[in-house]
Symmetry: C2
Subunit: 336 residues, 2 copies
C-alpha cells in the first residue's frame, strides 16, 4: 500500500486526486483510559465501524461510558486478554504519569499486540515502551486535538475530525503496526503527520506546551490587577488565557514530561521578551517583536499542507522519506 496526498489548507479544504483506496480490514481496538482523548477515540472508532472496547481506572468514568452504550471495563487484565485474543491495536490514552503502569500490564497480558498511544510527548513514552520490551510493535501517536475539559462527559466522536494526528516514523518502526495506526487516525477523520519522536517533542514544546505556559502567566498577571482588570478584560485576554482553564494536573502531565524541549523554547522566549522589554524601555518601541510575531502569524494562517504520495510502508528508506516529507509540511490523507 502507498500513502497518497492532498493539497489541504490550514484546517479547511482538501482538494483530492488520488488512486483508488483499498479499504483493508479494520482490526479491533482496545483503548486504555477513556478520558477526553481516549474516550473520544473510542467513540470515533466505534462510529467508524471498528470493534472497540476500553478500560478505565475510575469506576465512575467507566460506568458513564457504559451508560452511553460503550464497552468499557475497570478490569485491566480482562481488557488486555481480550486484546491479545483478538490481535487488537492497543491505544494507551492515559496521562504520562500513568503510562508506566499501563505498559507493565500490557507486557504481562498482551505483549504481542500492536501498540500506540495518544500521549502528548513521544520521547518519554518510547523510552518507557523500550524498557518494557514492547518496542517491536509500537508506533507513537499524538492527535493534536483537545479542549480545556476532561473526562468521559467531555468526549466527542468528532474531536479528531479535520485534526492533525502525529504518527511516529522512528528508526525501527514496522510497517504493519504503523499502517494500523495511520488507518485508525484517518478513520477518525484526521490527517497524519509522520514525525520522529524527538522532532515531535521539540515542535509541540513550541506550539502546545509554550502556549500553556504563557496562558498561565497571562492569567496570573490579569488576576493581580484585581476586579477592575478582570472586569475590563476582553477578547485578547479571554483567548490568550483559554487553556489556563485546563485542570492543573493535566497541564502538568502534558508539559513536565517534555521539560528538555520546553526549557529550550522557554529560554528562547525569555530572551525574546527581555529584548522587547529593553527596546520598549530604551526606545519606546516594540517594532522587532511585533513585526516578527505578525509575520509568524501570517505564515501560520497561510500555511498550506500538501499530500504525501508514493511512499510505500516497508519500502527502502520509507521512514526517512516520510520523516523528510513531514518536516516539510506534508500530510497523509489516505492509505491505498
Amino acid at each position: 500500500m502507498a500513502a497518497t496526498v492532498v493539497c489541504s489548507s490550514g484546517n479547511v479544504e482538501v482538494v483530492c486526486e488520488s488512486v483508488p483506496v483499498t479499504s483493508a480490514k479494520k482490526a479491533p481496538v482496545c483503548v486504555l483510559g477513556t478520558g477526553l482523548i481516549g474516550g473520544s477515540l473510542l467513540r470515533a472508532a466505534v462510529a467508524a465501524g471498528y470493534d472497540a472496547w476500553g478500560y478505565n481506572r475510575s469506576p465512575v468514568g467507566a460506568r458513564a461510558a457504559r451508560a452511553d452504550g460503550f464497552d468499557v471495563t475497570e478490569d485491566l487484565p480482562a481488557a488486555l486478554r481480550r486484546a491479545a485474543e483478538n490481535d487488537a491495536l492497543i491505544v494507551v490514552a492515559v496521562p504520562m504519569p500513568a503510562v508506566d503502569h499501563m505498559l507493565s500490564a500490557i507486557a504481562d497480558y498482551a505483549p504481542e499486540c500492536a501498540l500506540t498511544d495518544v500521549v502528548s510527548v513521544k520521547g518519554p513514552v518510547a523510552a518507557a515502551v523500550r524498557e518494557h520490551g514492547l518496542a517491536a510493535r509500537y508506533v507513537g501517536g499524538h492527535p493534536m486535538a483537545g479542549t480545556s475539559e476532561s473526562g468521559w462527559a467531555a468526549t466527542d466522536p468528532a474531536l479528531f475530525r479535520d485534526a492533525v494526528w502525529a504518527v511516529g516514523v522512528d528508526q525501527g518502526t514496522r510497517a504493519d503496526p504503523w499502517t494500523r495506526v495511520v488507518r485508525l487516525a484517518l478513520d477518525c477523520g484526521s490527517v497524519v503527520v509522520p514525525v520522529a519522536a524527538a522532532e515531535h517533542d521539540r515542535a509541540v514544546a513550541r506550539i502546545s506546551h509554550l502556549p500553556h505556559v504563557l496562558a498561565e502567566a497571562l492569567a496570573a498577571a490579569g488576576a493581580i490587577g484585581g476586579d477592575l482588570a478582570l472586569g475590563l478584560a476582553a477578547g485578547s485576554f479571554r483567548d490568550g488565557t483559554r487553556v489556563a482553564g485546563t485542570a492543573p494536573d493535566l497541564v502538568r502531565a502534558i508539559c513536565e514530561p517534555n521539560s528538555a524541549a520546553l526549557l529550550e523554547v522557554l529560554d528562547e522566549t525569555l530572551t525574546v521578551l527581555s529584548a522587547a522589554r529593553d527596546s520598549l524601555r530604551d526606545k519606546q518601541s516594540l517594532a522587532d517583536l511585533v513585526e516578527a510575531g505578525h509575520d509568524a502569524r501570517q505564515r501560520y494562517e497561510s500555511a498550506r499542507r500538501w499530500e504525501i504520495t508514493g511512499i510505500r510502508p516497508g519500502d527502502h528508506e520509507w521512514l526517512e522519506d516520510l520523516r523528510t516529507a513531514g518536516e516539510r509540511g506534508g500530510v497523509i490523507t489516505r492509505l491505498d
Copy 2:
C-alpha cells in the same frame, strides 16, 4: 440623574430591577476617525438614533463609509465646525500617534464641545488634552472591544454590544460631558466601568497589552519550529496567537504609549516565567505557575459584575465614589 445597577455575570445575563429611566436628549456625535472602532461607533450611534457624522483622513475610507450611507467627510475643519454649531460630543477615534493633530484642530474649530476618545490608553490622551487647553469638557473613554481586523470594511454596529466601556472619573471631571459619554456608551449596548486614567492604564497593560506582547512572542516561537511545528499547531496556538494577526502599526500604537505600565507588568511576567523555568529545570515542576494561572482563569470566568446604584453625577464625592465602585467590579448599566 443617578446611575443604577444590575447584577450581571461575565458577559451574559443582566437581572435588573431599577427606577424608571429618563431618556434624555441624544446630543449629536462627531466621530474623528472611522476605522474599526470609530466607524463601528458611528454605525452604532446612528442605529441608536443619534445625529452622527464622521471625519476620516483617508479618502478611501471616507468614500467606503459614504457608500454605505454614512455622513463621513475628509474635511476636518468642516466636520468640527459642524460639531461646534450643533454642540456635538466629539469622539477622537484615531490611534495615539494621530491624537495630537486631532486635538489641535479641535482647539481651533470646536474648543467648547464636549470631548471624549476611544484610544487604548488614557493617561497620555489626558495629558495631550490638557496641553491643548481642552480639559474642561473632556472625559476619557475606552470601549473594550475589537477584532484583529481594521478599517471601515471591518466596522460593525454590534461591536460594542455586551462590551465593557471604560469612562473616566478623574478629578475635575464635569457631570455634563460625563453623562453624555456614558449615555452614548450605554446606547451602543455596552456597560460602563468608571475608572481613573492611571488605574485604567495599569489594568489594560495587564489584560490587553501584555496579551498582545505574549501573542507576538508565541507566534514567533512557533514559526521558528518551521512547517512541522506550524502544521501540528492546534487550538492552544491558534487562540494564543490570534491577536498577533493585528496590523503591526496598530499593535504598536496601542501598546507603546502605555510603556510605563506595560514595562511594569512585563517585568513582573518575566520574573514569573523565569521562576517557572527554574522550577521546571531544577524540580521538573510547573506546579506554582500552573496553579496560579488556573486559579486566575477560574476567578476571571466566575467574576460577577454588580450594578452601581445611587451615585448622582455632580453630587459630593461622586467621582471618588464611582472610582471606588469601579475598582470593586461595579458597572453602570443605565442612567436614570
